[in-house]
C-alpha cells in the first residue's frame, strides 16, 4: 500500500462507522475492534484505501464497524474475495477478518492457498473454539471431548492448530495473540499490517456466551504467566511469574527447565522469527497447554515476493516483450487470408 498524498492525521475514532455494534456484551471482539482502529490510525492508513473483507460468523461482522470499504461476503470465502481485490488494485490495504469455523472449516481451502501464494493481505483469525453465530456447535479448533449442542457426548473430532496449518501452507508471517492482552494485540496487529505478504494472526477470543473461559489458562491472573511464553526475536524463551522458567531444546523436543542450578539463559531456545526454515516456528506452534506454555507473539516473519507483485511483473515483462496490447494485431494473430 502506498500513501503519497498528505493526509489529515486520523484518530482511532475516525475509523468508527455509524453502525451499532451488535456483538454480545462482554465479547472478546470488542477489544480486537478497538485495537484495530488504534493500529490503523497509528499507521495512518487512509480509510478509502482500506478494504476489510469477511465471511460469515460473529467475527465477520467486523467490516460494518470499521470505516473502510467493507465486504461482508459468504461463508468461508473472504480470502478468495480479498485476493481478487488485491490483484485488481495492489495499492489497497486489504484485511480479512475470519473465525475458526469460517476460516478453517468451510474456508479452509482458500486459507491454505491464499497463504501459499503470499497475497499481501492481513488476516485476523478470531479463534473462540466454537460456532457462535449458529449458537454453539463445536468447531475445528474445539478440544477433543468438548461438549456442545452438536456434541452432547463430547466432540470426537481431533482439533487442528491454526498456526501449524499456516506454517505448513508456507506462511511468511505467523503470529498469535489474545483479545484481553490489548497491548500485545496492538503490537501484533501493527506488525502484521506492516508485513508485505500474507500475515496470519490467530487471536484467542473469548466467546462469553457459548464458550466462556476457553482461554482462561492464558488470561487468568494467577495462571497466565505459567501457561504462556511471549516470543521475542533473538531472545530466549523465558516465562513464569518470576521469569524463572525457560524452554530448552532436547533434540527436537522442547522441554521446560528452571533457570539456576547451572542452567542459564544461554542454554535456552532462542527465538528466531526470521529463520527461513519453518521448523522452529512449527515446533513452537505445537507447544500446547497443558503440556507446555503456549507461545504468543510473532512465530515467523520472512520475506518473499507477493503474488500480486509477481503478477504485475509478468504484465510488465509481457509489455516489454510484446509491446502494449493492440487489438488490431490481436485479432489478426495466426494465419489470416483476404477475400476480395
Amino acid at each position: 500500500m502506498s500513501n503519497d498524498t498528505v493526509q489529515v492525521e486520523l484518530k482511532p475514532k475516525d475509523y468508527a462507522t455509524d453502525q451499532d455494534v451488535r456483538w454480545c456484551p462482554g465479547c472478546g471482539d470488542y477489544a480486537i475492534l478497538a485495537q484495530a482502529k488504534k493500529v490503523l490510525a497509528g499507521l495512518g492508513i487512509p480509510r478509502e484505501n482500506l478494504v476489510v473483507v469477511s465471511g460469515i460468523g460473529c467475527s465477520s461482522r467486523f467490516p460494518y464497524y470499521i470505516e473502510s470499504y467493507g465486504f461482508h461476503s459468504i461463508h468461508g470465502r473472504a480470502m478468495a474475495i480479498a485476493t481478487g481485490v488485491k490483484v485488481a488494485n495492489p495499492e489497497l490495504s486489504v484485511w480479512v477478518v475470519t473465525g475458526d469455523g469460517d476460516g478453517l472449516s468451510i474456508g479452509g481451502n482458500h486459507l491454505l492457498h491464499t497463504i501459499r501464494r503470499n497475497v499481501d493481505i492481513t488476516v485476523l483469525l478470531f479463534n473462540n473454539q466454537i460456532y457462535g453465530l449458529t449458537k454453539g456447535q463445536y468447531s475445528p479448533t474445539s478440544p477433543m471431548g468438548k461438549k456442545t449442542k452438536s456434541s452432547p457426548q463430547g466432540s470426537i473430532d481431533f482439533p487442528l492448530r491454526p498456526l501449524s496449518v499456516a506454517i505448513g501452507a508456507e506462511a511468511t508471517f505467523v503470529a498469535r495473540t489474545i483479545d484481553v492482552n490489548v497491548k500485545h494485540l496492538g503490537y501484533i496487529l501493527e506488525r502484521a499490517a506492516r508485513h508485505k505478504g500474507t500475515s496470519f494472526i490467530e487471536i484467542y477470543q473469548n466467546c462469553n456466551i457459548f464458550n466462556d473461559g476457553a482461554f482462561e489458562y492464558v488470561t487468568g491472573k494467577d495462571v497466565k504467566d505459567e501457561n504462556a511464553v511471549y516470543l521475542e526475536h533473538n531472545k530466549p524463551l523465558i516465562f513464569g511469574k518470576d521469569r524463572d522458567k525457560g524452554i530448552r531444546l532436547n533434540g527436537m523436543k522442547p522441554e521446560i527447565v528452571s533457570l539456576g542450578n547451572g542452567i542459564t539463559e544461554d542454554d535456552l531456545l532462542f527465538h528466531d522469527e526470521k529463520a527461513e526454515d519453518p521448523s522452529l516456528a512449527y515446533l513452537l506452534s505445537r507447544m500446547h497447554y497443558p503440556n507446555a506454555p503456549e507461545p504468543m507473539g510473532v512465530f515467523r516473519c520472512v520475506e518473499r515476493p507477493t503474488y500480486e507483485d509477481l503478477l504485475m511483473d509478468q504484465i510488465e515483462s509481457s509489455r516489454k516483450a510484446n509491446g502494449e496490447g493492440d487489438l488490431e494485431s490481436l485479432f489478426a494473430s495466426g494465419e489470416t487470408w483476404t477475400v476480395d
Binding site: 478509502e48 503478477l311 489478426a332
Partner: protein, 625 residues
C-alpha cells in the same frame, strides 16, 4: 465433369475431375496421431483457397488412453463448400482412418459411396484385437459400399522420409502429414499454407521440418502418381463477404471478446478460473495476453475462482470467471452474492454433457435450467447464448456491456460444440466496435448512498480507493438507498422486486429478434445456442422444398427479447430443438402459454441437419416428434 491430364514428369495419366459443392472430411486416429493438427491445417488451406469452412473436433475423454484402443480415438471433421456453411456437416464424404479402432468408431458416419482411406499398415493382428475385431473388417463384404483405398501409409511415409535420417517414432509422427498430403491432392487443396506452417513451427528443427515437408508432398504426389485414384474433386470458391479472415473457435473468440471489452472500457481484465474441460482453453488463451493488462488467476477451486472475480469486480476490473456445468454448481452461492451486492460480473459457462462429471469432452445444452434457477432465493441473472463460434466474440462484449450498465452478473452460455468448433471469422474493424462507457462516482465529502439507483435501477460502482465513498456491502439484505443491513419485511419485498425489475429491464436495450423465413405461418422452429447452424440449414432446405416453416434463434435467454411472445403467437405450431430434455421449451410454454413441442437429442453430439429436417417434416405432417 471435367477430364484433365496430370503429369508427374515421368508418366502421364488421365484423372477425372469432378466438381462438387460440398465435401465433409473426417480424420480419425489415435490421440497421438495428430488428427487435430491435420484437420486444422486442411481447414486453413480450404479457407485460404476460398471455400466456406466449418469444423468440429471430437476428443477422447482420456488423455492417454492405450494406443490403438477405442477410447483413444480422436477425430476432426471438416466441412468445406462453395456456398455458405453453418455446420460441420451431417454425413461424412471422406473418412481417413489411421487404425482399426478409428475405423470402428467412425465408419457409421460415412455415407454410402463415400471415400474411405485407411492406413493399411495399422491393420495388424494386435491392432485389430485392440479394436475388438476378430477379422480384418477391410476384407468384409460391407466395405463394397464405400470407395475403399487401402494405403500402406506407414511404409510409404517411412520411405519418403528416409533421406532425413530420422527413424522410428520421429518418422511415424509425420504420417498424419502423408495422409493429409494425399487428401490435399484428392480435393485440390493448396499445400502452401501448410508448408508455411511447418516452416514457422519447426524452423528451429530443420530435420523435423524437412521430414514433415517430405511427408506432405509425398502424400500429395502419391495421389498424383498412384494408379489407384481415378478421380479428384474440386469444390469451387464460395461467395464470401469480402474482408480479412482468420479461423476462430468459440473459446478463442470468447477470450478475444473479453479482452476487447476490457480494452474498449480502458480497464484491466481479471479472469479467475479453475481448470475444467471444455473451458480451460479460455484461461490458456487469456494467460498469453498479459500485455493487455490481463490478470489471469488460476484459483484453487471453482468457488475461489468466482469469489476472486467478484473481489476484482468490486475493485473496478472487468472481471470474468469461466467454467462448465459442474463449476457453475459450485459457484451458485457466489453468483447469488453478486446478485445481492449488485456487482458487474461475467460468468462464462461452456456446457458439457452432464449430470455430475457426465461427458466432459462432449457437448450438451442442459445447463440452461441451472443458469436460470440454480440458486437460493429469488435470484435473477441475465443469460446470453451465442449461436456460432464467431458470435462468442460479440456476446462476450455484450455480456460486459450489460453487466456494467446494469450492475449485474451475466452468464454467457456456450457449449463444447461452439467452444471447439471453428469457422472463418471476418476480422472486425476496431473502430467499428461498440464503446463501453463505464462510470464511477467521484470522491465526495457529503456522504454516499451505495444503493441509490439510476434510471436503469443500477447502483453506483464506487471503487475502493475513492475518498469519502467508503461503504459496506455483503450478502445480507440491504436497505435500498443507504445499503445498510435491513431485516424490514417491506424493504425485503421491495428489494426482491427491484432486483427482478432491473434484470427484466435489460430487455429494453437488446436487439429485436431476427426472423429466418416468414413473419407468420404454419411452423416456427425456435432454437438457442449452438444448434443455430443445424436449425437454420434444415429450415432453409425445407423451405426450398416448399414447406411452410420459419425459425428464430434466441440469443438473450433471460430476459428474452420483448417480441418473442408475439412471434410465437403468429405460428400455428412451435418446435424447439435442444440438446437436453426440453429446458427452453418448458420456459416458453410456461411464459407464453404456447403448445410448443421439444425435439430433443442428448447423445453428447450436436444435431445433424437431417435430424431437424425430419422433425420439421413430422411436425408438419402431424406426426409426434
Amino acid at each position: 465433369m471435367v477430364v484433365s491430364t496430370q503429369t508427374d514428369g515421368k508418366s502421364v495419366r488421365q484423372v477425372k475431375v469432378i466438381e462438387t459443392s460440398q465435401v465433409t472430411v473426417r480424420f480419425c486416429g489415435d490421440s497421438g496421431d495428430g488428427m487435430q493438427l491435420a484437420g486444422t491445417q486442411m481447414t486453413t488451406a480450404s479457407a485460404i483457397f476460398g471455400n466456406d469452412v466449418s469444423t468440429f473436433p471430437d476428443f477422447p475423454a482420456e488423455i492417454r488412453a492405450p494406443a490403438g484402443s477405442l477410447a483413444g480415438v480422436s477425430g476432426f471433421q471438416l466441412n468445406f463448400s462453395s456456398h455458405l456453411l453453418r455446420t460441420p456437416g451431417d454425413r461424412v464424404t471422406a473418412l481417413i482412418a489411421m487404425n482399426p479402432a478409428a475405423l470402428k468408431t467412425n465408419i457409421a458416419d460415412l455415407e454410402p459411396g463415400g471415400i474411405l482411406v485407411v492406413n493399411d499398415d495399422a491393420f495388424s493382428k494386435t491392432n485389430l484385437a485392440k479394436a475388438g475385431y476378430d477379422e480384418n473388417p477391410l476384407d468384409a463384404a460391407g466395405m463394397s459400399q464405400f470407395k475403399l483405398f487401402r494405403i500402406p501409409i506407414d511404409k510409404l511415409n517411412a520411405k519418403v522420409c528416409e533421406s532425413t535420417g530420422l527413424t522410428g517414432r520421429a518418422v511415424s509422427r509425420c504420417r498424419n502429414f502423408f495422409a493429409l498430403g494425399l487428401v490435399y491432392w484428392l480435393y485440390g487443396r493448396p499445400m502452401d499454407p501448410t508448408l508455411r506452417w511447418i516452416e514457422s513451427k519447426f524452423g528451429g528443427k530443420p530435420v523435423v521440418a524437412e521430414a514433415n515437408t517430405l511427408a506432405l508432398k509425398g502424400g500429395y504426389y502419391f495421389g498424383e502418381t498412384a494408379e489407384m485414384f481415378p478421380v479428384r474433386y474440386v469444390v469451387p470458391k464460395a461467395d464470401i463477404p469480402p474482408g480479412r479472415y482468420r479461423r476462430i473457435s468459440g473459446n478463442v473468440a470468447t477470450a478475444l471478446g473479453l479482452i476487447t471489452a476490457a480494452r474498449l472500457a480502458g480497464k484491466p481484465l481479471f479472469y479467475g478460473s479453475y481448470p475444467i474441460t471444455p473451458a480451460s482453453d479460455i484461461l490458456h488463451e487469456l494467460a498469453r495476453y498479459k500485455n493487455f493488462d490481463v490478470r489471469t488467476f488460476q484459483a484453487e477451486d471453482e468457488i475461489s475462482a468466482i469469489c476472486s472475480t467478484l473481489g476484482a469486480a468490486y475493485t473496478g476490473n472487468f472481471a470474468v470467471t469461466g467454467t462448465s456445468g459442474p463449476g457453475i454448481a459450485l459457484k451458485s452461492e457466489a453468483i447469488g452474492l453478486a446478485v445481492m451486492t449488485e456487482l458487474p460480473l461475467v460468468i462464462v459457462c461452456v456446457q458439457r454433457g452432464g449430470p455430475s462429471t457426465g461427458l466432459p469432452t462432449k457437448t450438451e445444452q442442459a445447463d440452461l435450467n441451472q443458469a436460470l434457477f440454480g440458486r437460493n432465493g429469488e435470484c435473477p441473472v441475465c443469460i446470453l447464448a451465442p449461436a456460432t463460434p464467431g458470435e462468442c466474440f460479440d456476446m462476450a462484449i455484450e455480456s460486459f456491456r450489460i453487466a456494467t450498465e446494469y450492475m449485474v452478473p451475466v452468464i454467457m452460455l456456450t457449449d463444447g460444440y461452439l467452444a471447439n468448433g471453428a469457422e472463418p471469422w471476418r476480422i472486425p474493424d476496431v473502430a467499428s466496435l461498440p464503446k463501453i462507457e463505464v462510470k464511477h462516482p467521484a470522491a465526495s465529502e457529503n456522504g454516499f448512498l451505495p444503493y441509490a439507483r439510476d434510471a436503469k435501477l443500477a447502483r453506483p460502482w464506487a471503487l475502493p480507493g475513492t475518498p469519502g465513498l467508503q461503504h459496506r456491502i455483503g450478502g445480507l439484505e440491504k436497505a435500498d438507498g443507504d445499503g445498510n443491513v435491513c431485516y424490514d419485511p417491506e424493504n425485503h419485498e421491495h428489494m426482491i422486486h427491484t432486483r427482478q425489475k432491473k434484470v427484466e429491464g435489460i430487455a429494453e436495450t437488446i436487439p429485436p429478434t431476427e426472423m429466418f423465413g416468414d413473419d407468420s405461418g404454419e411452423l416456427l422452429v425456435v432454437g438457442w445456442g449452438s444448434t443455430y447452424g443445424a436449425i437454420t440449414s434444415a429450415v432453409e432446405r425445407c423451405r426450398a422444398k416448399g414447406m411452410d416453416v420459419s425459425s428464430i434463434h434466441i440469443r438473450y435467454l433471460y430476459p428474452m427479447p420483448k417480441d418473442i411472445g408475439a412471434i410465437l403467437k403468429r405460428f400455428k405450431k412451435v418446435m424447439v430443438p435442444e440438446m437436453n430434455l426440453g429446458q427452453l421449451v418448458q420456459l416458453l410454454r410456461a411464459k407464453f402459454l404456447v403448445d410448443a413441442k421439444g425435439l430433443n437429442k442428448v447423445q453428447g453430439k450436436p444435431f445433424m441437419i437431417s435430424d431437424i429436417e425430419r422433425g420439421i417434416e413430422d411436425t408438419l405432417n402431424g406426426k409426434a416428434i
